[in-house]
């Protein structure tokens, strides 16, 4: 330790001129306001601004210069043997010189910064808007980075060895490796985890660079080239180790199965047994993963780079999933992929670039795909050939919500609903209905609906003939059954709001109503069916045979609405999410699930596949 200090003292003794320069520069901010032209500004503003700029600029510049020279100059001027012919260890030399450099930087910064800061503390805080410790940490960190990088680059380039080409190549390689480590995390929407990983990598790099000089001098000693070799070997080997560890960590983070999730959201389409399972993974901070999960078999399939099931669609036959894969969670655009769950086929890149604000739907057989973007540009594609079949611009699509579906493989129906749901703005609200003939490439405005409601909800019957429009005003809601193509009113009735009104398979509507004592009643076809007490209850899904599944926060009710009977009530089970999103999906059509299809329900951290009629539960995984 005394040797470290001896070296540091020696180095500092040589830096008198640097300290004098800093002291002279420290006067500059106080003299500058006297210059004509600068006088117009507030004296303290000029002092603090100039003072801070000079202090930071000088410190950072000096950090770079010291980094390049503290070892590099002695090496290239062959003066390193001065130290090595004395009983000084390589670490003593390195850390002594490093400490001297850091002390020099700190002293210079303090000398330059504090006089002007103290002259105008409030002005400084006003113009920089930074806590002092934060500002010091930033300047200190930047200075340390410049110092160490200066040293590394100085050593590499001063050796004049062709090895420097390899260093540059490895630098590029390391940058690519870091990108490869971070990128999969970006796909997992793990902002916090990425910050942590990036900070850890940075800290590891700093530690490597702090230690590199000691290793370099211990193995390269007084020889310039051997110093370079030793430095390169140390930096690259240790960085490789760090990157391999980080890479393994990323591989572990990314390698998630549904049972690694700690929070689980399940979105269960009515078609088939494949569900979307989305959640945050255990021990991985905010890393999220999305799976296609088969409730029948327990098989799962990971979908990468997809934010949630909102950015996915399932064909009516239940066979094909299309989803938007974003390169990272902040990306505004990605590509559409399709996958057929349950088959051995991998995800297929459709090479269709789609913005985050686009809507897309599959045709019922999954052979075609339609996309409408934020500007209303509608395009139909054929997936097998990856070809665009036809395109058209749908008018009045700004600030609207788009719903669309393939009436037939050749015909698309589009609902332009304004305003975007939900909004508080009172404006002219309504739905415009269009049909697009893919073969003829012709767009027809087939109908419209006007309303003064703030919230609109649209659902279309499975056959595409009738539509339910729920218009939610401040005090009451109205449900209208309309012709799905023309918007012509067929029937109108008071409703209980968006969440408590649904369109049934037979084209009628059902509403749920709660009384003052939390007793719920299901109204449909003139029948009033009491379904029991619950704090909250929604329509979850309709089962074939005239049955409805209702879902509360922790309970589940199956009702036979044809016979007006409650089939079963489970009090501890809850569906993890209410149905395939009836109000959010791009395809507004409701569908009816097969009564033999299991329901995804969770209870005390276990996901079960429950038979809705028998209530039989099969454990799928714990989370």
């Amino acid at each position: 330790m005394s040797h470290v200090l001896a070296i540091a003292r020696r180095d500092l003794a040589e830096r008198t001129s640097v300290f004098i320069a800093a002291a002279v520069l420290a006067v500059l901010p106080f003299v500058l306001p006297a210059v004509p032209g600068v006088r117009a500004f507030s004296y303290t503003d000029v002092v603090t601004t100039v003072g801070a700029i000079v202090a930071i600029g000088f410190t950072l510049g000096l950090a770079l210069v010291l980094g390049v020279t503290m070892i590099g100059r002695d090496l290239s001027e062959k003066r390193m043997s001065f130290y090595f012919s004395k009983p000084l260890s390589a670490s003593a030399i390195w850390f002594g010189k490093l400490i001297a450099a850091i002390v020099t930087l700190v002293v210079c910064f303090v000398v330059l910064f504090f006089p002007s800061y103290l002259a105008g503390t409030t002005s400084w805080q006003r113009s920089w808007n930074l806590e002092l410790p934060v500002a010091f940490a930033i300047v200190g960190g930047a200075a340390l980075v410049l110092l160490l990088f200066g040293h590394v680059f100085g050593t590499m380039f001063r050796s004049k060895s062709p090895l420097v080409a390899l260093d540059v190549a490895l630098m590029a390689g390391a940058a690519l490796a870091i990108a490869a480590i971070i990128r999969p995390l970006l796909e997992g929407f793990a902002g916090d985890l990425i910050t942590r990983v990036a900070f850890t990598l940075f800290a590891a790099l700093m530690l490597i660079l702090l230690a590199c000089g000691a290793w370099q001098l211990a193995h390269g000693r007084a020889d310039r080239r051997q110093n370079h070799y030793a430095l390169s070997r140390f930096v690259w080997v240790s960085l490789a180790i760090v990157l391999v560890v980080a890479g393994l960590f990323t591989a572990w983070v990314v390698n998630v199965s549904p049972s690694d999730l700690k929070t689980v959201n399940v979105s269960q389409p009515e078609e088939g047994s494949w569900s979307f399972v989305f959640g945050q993974a255990k021990h991985r901070m905010d890393y999220h993963a999305l799976f296609l999960y088969d409730l029948a078999s327990g098989k799962s399939m990971r979908l990468h780079g997809i934010r949630s099931w909102f950015s996915s669609g399932l064909s009516r036959d239940g066979r094909t999933v299309a989803y938007l894969q974003l390169p990272d969670y902040r990306a505004m655009e990605g590509e559409l992929y399709t996958v057929q769950p349950g088959t051995s086929g991998e995800s297929v890149d459709t090479q269709i670039a789609v913005s985050r604000y686009s809507e897309f739907v599959l045709s019922d057989d999954g052979a075609r795909l339609a996309v409408i973007d934020g500007n209303g540009l509608l395009t139909a594609y054929e997936l097998a050939s990856k070809k665009a079949l036809a395109s058209v611009r749908v008018p009045n699509t700004a600030r609207t919500m788009r719903r669309l579906f393939f009436v037939s493989p050749e015909l698309l129906r589009i609902y332009i609903q304004s305003p975007q749901f939900p909004t508080m703005k009172v404006a002219e609200h309504g739905v415009d209905i269009y049909e697009f003939d893919v073969r003829a490439r012709s767009l027809a405005h087939t109908g419209q609906l006007r309303t003064d409601a703030k919230h609109l909800g649209l659902a279309v019957s499975a056959d595409g003939k009738r539509a339910l429009m729920v218009a939610d005003r401040d005090s009451s809601a109205t449900a209208r059954i309309v012709d799905a193509r023309t918007g012509q009113l067929i029937a109108e009735a008071p409703a209980e709001g968006l969440m408590h009104t649904t369109l049934l398979a037979d084209g009628s509507i059902a509403t749920l109503k709660k009384d003052a004592s939390m007793q719920w009643t299901l109204n449909t076809g003139g029948k009033q069916i009491p379904v029991g007490k619950s704090t909250q209850l929604f329509f979850a899904r309709e089962l074939a045979g005239g049955r409805l599944v209702l879902n509360g926060a922790s309970n589940l009710v199956v009702v036979d609405y044809v016979h007006g009977a409650v089939l079963r009530t489970d009090f501890d089970s809850a569906m993890t999410s209410f149905s395939y999103p009836q109000w959010y999906a791009a395809d507004p059509r409701r569908s009816v699930a097969d009564a033999s299809q299991p329901l995804a329900v969770h209870q005390k951290g276990v996901l079960y596949a429950m038979q809705p009629l028998s209530g039989e539960k099969k454990e799928m995984f714990r989370f």
């Binding site: 020696r10 390193m80 012919s85 004395k86 009983p87 193995h219 007084a222 020889d223 080239r225 051997q226």
Partner: protein, 298 residues
């Protein structure tokens, strides 16, 4: 380990390569304790590489180097406590004043003798407030030597100490070395290409040529076996007397031969057997031997 038994320096098969260039080629040498050992070689012969490796400042490509019984690469830090070094280019930071240098060294060595340093500096007539960079080349070497000796080393290594020094500076440098030898019996290892003064004090020499140690022995036996023989006419076959010639060349009308295994009796026999009109046998200075061995090869 018994000090008397471990040599001050033992280099065994040292090779130093810079890329494809071989600077030191399987060099081996032994510097006994208490000796004054001179490693001779022309500029670029590889002396400095050998010295830097011996001092643990540079890693030899291969070979073993023990100094004062310890591996000089592994235990350099500890060893330097016991070794005084005067480097080829006297190498202190130019900004440091002589006094600062002395203070710096005093803080590093447990046995730093400030009085001895001051006394030597007085003898050299160097002011302590002078910046090292402002000293003349000779003064730099003198300061380096004074620093090295002030650490009361067991071994002192002088890498080309007289390089660039004038006669007076060289004399005063050697005076200090001789005084140190007389007072403390320190082992001296020096390299040089300039033999003035060295011949008086060296008791063991090695000659290095193109990275190889071509010769290593006691100076006395070396001088005893080398002779220059000049023949007025064409020479008789020297190999008849099993003389090995280091060099044979024309000398005026006659021939000059340098014999590396001379002995009087053999030469007398040769003289009586052959009809040698005129042959002049003369002893050679170390410098002449060095030139014959290392100088005239292509």
């Amino acid at each position: 380990m018994n000090h008397a038994e471990t040599p001050a320096i033992r280099i065994d098969g040292m090779t130093v390569r810079y890329g494809r260039r071989v600077a030191v080629d399987t060099a081996s040498l032994t510097v006994p304790r208490g000796s004054v050992y001179a490693l001779l070689g022309r500029n670029g012969a590889g002396k400095s590489s050998l010295v830097r490796c011996a001092l643990g400042q540079q890693r030899a490509t291969s070979g073993n180097t023990e100094v004062l019984g310890e591996d000089s690469w592994k235990h350099r830090t500890r060893l330097m406590e016991r070794i005084g070094v005067v480097a080829e280019d006297a190498d202190a930071p130019p900004e440091m004043r002589v006094q600062q240098l002395a203070d710096f060294c005093a803080s590093l060595y447990s046995r730093f003798d400030t009085k001895a340093f001051d006394a030597r500096l007085d003898r050299f007539g160097i002011a302590k407030q002078t910046r090292f960079g402002d000293l003349s080349k000779g003064q730099k070497k003198q300061v380096s030597l004074a620093l090295a000796l002030a650490t009361t080393p067991e071994l002192i290594v002088l890498d080309d100490p007289t390089l660039g020094l004038d006669v007076v500076a060289r004399k005063s440098l050697f005076d200090e070395v001789i005084a140190e030898l007389a007072d403390r019996g320190t082992t001296v290892f020096l390299t040089t290409h300039d033999l003035t003064g060295v011949e008086h004090i060296a008791d063991r020499v090695a000659i290095m040529n193109d990275g190889r140690i071509v010769l290593e022995e006691e100076l006395e036996t070396l001088k005893a076996r080398f002779r220059r023989i000049r023949f007025a006419a064409q020479p008789v076959a020297l190999d008849a007397a099993s003389f090995r010639t280091a060099l044979v060349r024309n000398w005026g009308a006659g021939t000059e031969a340098i014999v590396s295994n001379y002995d009087d009796l053999a030469f007398e026999r040769l003289r009586s057997n052959a009809t040698i009109q005129s042959a002049d046998v003369s002893a050679m200075s170390l410098e002449e031997i060095f030139i014959a061995v290392a100088g005239e090869k292509q």
